[in-house]
């Protein structure tokens, strides 16, 4: 088990290296720089600015400096390796670490809330549908599921605003800060995931419920509740658990549109403005951070397998 985890951890090194190189090249291949302004600056000032941020260095040196493999022009090792994402180029007074600290918790809160909705709605819906297969409940929840899968958050968001904020006036139209602000965006974000989970739970439950050990559990006189929760659900949850990791990652990284619709000061919104501003360090940092996060969540899922199903062995 620990050998498996260590092997996976080692494997993340080339993955992160590759992603950082591709992102670095893509970001720097985009024409125009962070200091392009309508009115051209004097050449000396431009040169000084470039020098200050190390942008006058050759590209490979900029990369190794950024990653913290080599000493930067001021003679320090200060890069990703030291968990230093560097200064923001367009926001002089802030470092990228500070920007993350300010905006990432917002996106993460939104992602967690959406995941809670996805699991909280999806799993019960799937269980009900599977226990009463081909009943009205089944058809209703599967109809709901196909609505959830088909209607993207970009459509759900404005409709929610229209109904709950503008017409009924129950919730604030947009913004961030209180519990009421979280409800609509996380619902818009989590609904399609809840549909996926509902369908997956149903299918997996239908399969598990026909297994011999369920019959055994019933035969030895366990209550229906124990059979479903302890025996069926625990096994049926394995395929669901496999999608939770990538799903959570997708939810957190997929908040761009939701943050735009609901005017939420999250990292996604910041990322998009950084692209237009050519704020290299923010774009690089965000992509790397999300990639790290994706890798970590996949690893976490693989490890939870073992706890859910001891039959799964890691070589």
């Amino acid at each position: 088990m620990s050998r498996f985890i260590i092997r996976r951890l080692i494997w993340t090194i080339p993955v992160i290296l590759f992603i950082s190189i591709v992102t670095f090249l893509l970001v720097h291949a985009v024409p125009g720089g962070p200091f392009d302004t309508e009115k051209p600056r004097p050449a000396e000032i431009q040169a000084n600015l470039m020098k200050h941020y190390g942008l006058d260095q050759p590209l490979w040196k900029q990369y190794t400096d950024y990653m913290g493999f080599t000493r930067n022009p001021s003679g320090d090792y200060a890069g990703i390796l030291q968990w230093d994402f560097g200064p923001s180029i367009t926001q002089r007074s802030r470092t990228v670490n500070e920007i993350f600290a300010a905006h990432l918790p917002v996106s993460a809160t939104l992602g967690v809330a959406a995941l809670l909705i996805a699991v909280g709605v999806g799993v019960p819906l799937g269980i009900i549908a599977s226990l009463k297969q081909n009943s009205a409940w089944d058809y209703l929840s599967m109809a709901l599921a196909i609505v959830g899968v088909s209607v993207p958050s970009i459509v759900i968001g404005p409709i929610l605003i229209l109904v709950f904020a503008l017409t009924l006036g129950w919730l604030p139209v947009a913004g961030w800060g209180s519990f009421k602000h979280i409800l609509m965006p996380s619902l818009a974000l989590g609904l399609s995931s809840s549909a996926i989970i509902a369908r997956l739970t149903r299918a997996s439950m239908l399969q598990v419920i026909r297994e011999d050990y369920i019959r055994t559990a019933r035969a030895k006189g366990l209550s229906e509740k124990v059979v479903i929760v302890r025996h069926a659900l625990k096994n049926a949850f394995i395929p669901v658990a496999t999608v939770l990791g990538p799903m959570f990652a997708a939810l957190v990284t997929g908040t761009f549109v939701i943050e735009q619709i609901f005017a939420i000061p999250g990292l996604g919104k910041y990322f998009i403005s950084s692209i237009t501003n050519r704020d290299y360090s923010v774009v690089m940092g965000t992509t790397l951070l999300y990639a790290l996060f994706l890798v970590a969540s996949n690893l976490f899922v693989d490890v939870t397998y073992a706890f859910l199903d001891p039959r799964i062995q890691f070589e």
Partner: protein
């Protein structure tokens, strides 16, 4: 074993047996696909989805006939104009502040362009994105997965590690980065003869083929195509790994068939079912990716009518003119429904054991 199960099992093992090895099975092959088509036509939701897709395709092909106006035509003086009947249907007090005009069947946008026409022309953006995305994913994924699964061993190991790395990329961020790169590098390229210029020229040809004046559709195709194939590749590889140990593949080897022929004639027909299903179910994802990109301003260039851009424009005046969001949103949702219905139906038709799963 029920009839459906035996049909599914036959799907998994029977098709390639029939390919030139055993002519007796030839009859069974056609029956199998006919069986699938029969089951598909019995599935009301799938038929509805198929009909909707055909209608949408016709609408996009004949947009210039169906739409009342061209998507760029408009009268800026009549911005946000609304026909009288719509003020009665929509919530709020639209009639107190809006311009009433019956020129536009469903009102005008903030530049005075006909909403209905723009939504109809919007199918020329969304449908090609869906279909081209599916085709590229299919092409790259199938070839990549087949090679990896068929040759196995070291080749397989390296090729799948590459897929693993691609999977670790935050897809949405990668597409956004690529779009930013394409847009600023190529859209403005003015020097003839440079690769960037030629690339942009192809892009313009694609746009005009689709009947859009501008758009940068090629960039979106590339962005989606490059990030969409990994799932198909993994699926194809898994299927082939289990298939290549089967006796009929051994038999083909023994009569001296070349690798290419075995992959093309014996393996592909056997795995095409699940892959077809997975591609169909992925189409809504490609469409919504484009909508997301256009929503944040990195998708289709204006004035090309993308539903995402229309929702983004309309959302700015959601309180005053909700119909400007609802109309493109409705078209988008219907399109997504149609492909999901068809995909679900295809899966049930091709593999009845999988009913109800994703």
């Amino acid at each position: 074993m029920t009839k459906q199960e035996s049909a599914a099992r036959a799907l998994a093992s029977g098709r390639a047996d029939a390919q030139g090895l055993n002519s007796e099975n030839q009859q069974k092959v056609t029956n199998l696909w006919q069986d699938a088509i029969y089951r598909l036509t019995r599935n009301r939701a799938a038929v509805l989805g198929l009909i909707l897709i055909v209608l949408l395709v016709l609408m996009s092909a004949f947009a210039h006939v169906v739409a009342p106006m061209h998507f760029t035509a408009g009268d800026a003086a009549l911005n946000n104009a609304v026909p009288l009947w719509l003020t009665k249907v929509m919530p709020g007090h639209m009639e107190t502040y809006t311009q009433i005009s019956d020129i536009y069947p469903l009102g005008a946008d903030y530049l005075g362009r006909d909403l209905l026409s723009r939504v109809i022309y919007g199918t020329r953006v969304s449908l090609p994105v869906g279909f081209v995305g599916a085709l590229t994913a299919l092409l790259i994924g199938l070839i990549y997965g087949s090679v990896s699964g068929y040759y196995g061993g070291k080749v397989d190991n390296i090729m799948m590690r590459i897929v693993d790395i691609m999977y670790a990329f935050p897809t949405m961020l990668l597409i956004i980065l690529m779009m930013a790169f394409f847009k600023s590098s190529f859209s403005g390229a003015a020097t003839p003869g440079t690769p960037a210029y030629e690339f942009n020229r192809i892009n313009k040809v694609v746009d005009s083929l689709l009947g859009l004046q501008s758009g940068g559709m090629l960039f979106i195709f590339i962005g989606i195509g490059l990030t969409a194939w990994m799932g198909i590749a993994r699926l194809a590889r898994g299927q082939i790994l289990s298939l290549k140990e089967k006796e009929f593949i051994l038999a083909s080897h023994m009569i001296g068939a070349r690798d290419g022929r075995i992959i093309w004639r014996h393996i592909l027909p056997n795995i095409i079912g699940p892959i077809l299903v997975s591609v169909t179910l992925a189409i809504p994802g490609y469409i919504s990716t484009e909508v997301f990109l256009s929503f944040i301003g990195l998708g289709v260039d204006p004035p090309a009518p993308s539903w995402g851009a229309m929702i983004s424009d309309g959302a700015k005046a959601l309180r005053s003119y909700p119909h400007q969001v609802l109309l493109p949103a409705l078209f988008l949702a219907v399109t997504m429904f149609a492909f999901n219905f068809l995909g679900d139906g295809l899966r049930d038709a091709l593999d009845p054991r999988m009913r109800g799963t994703k």
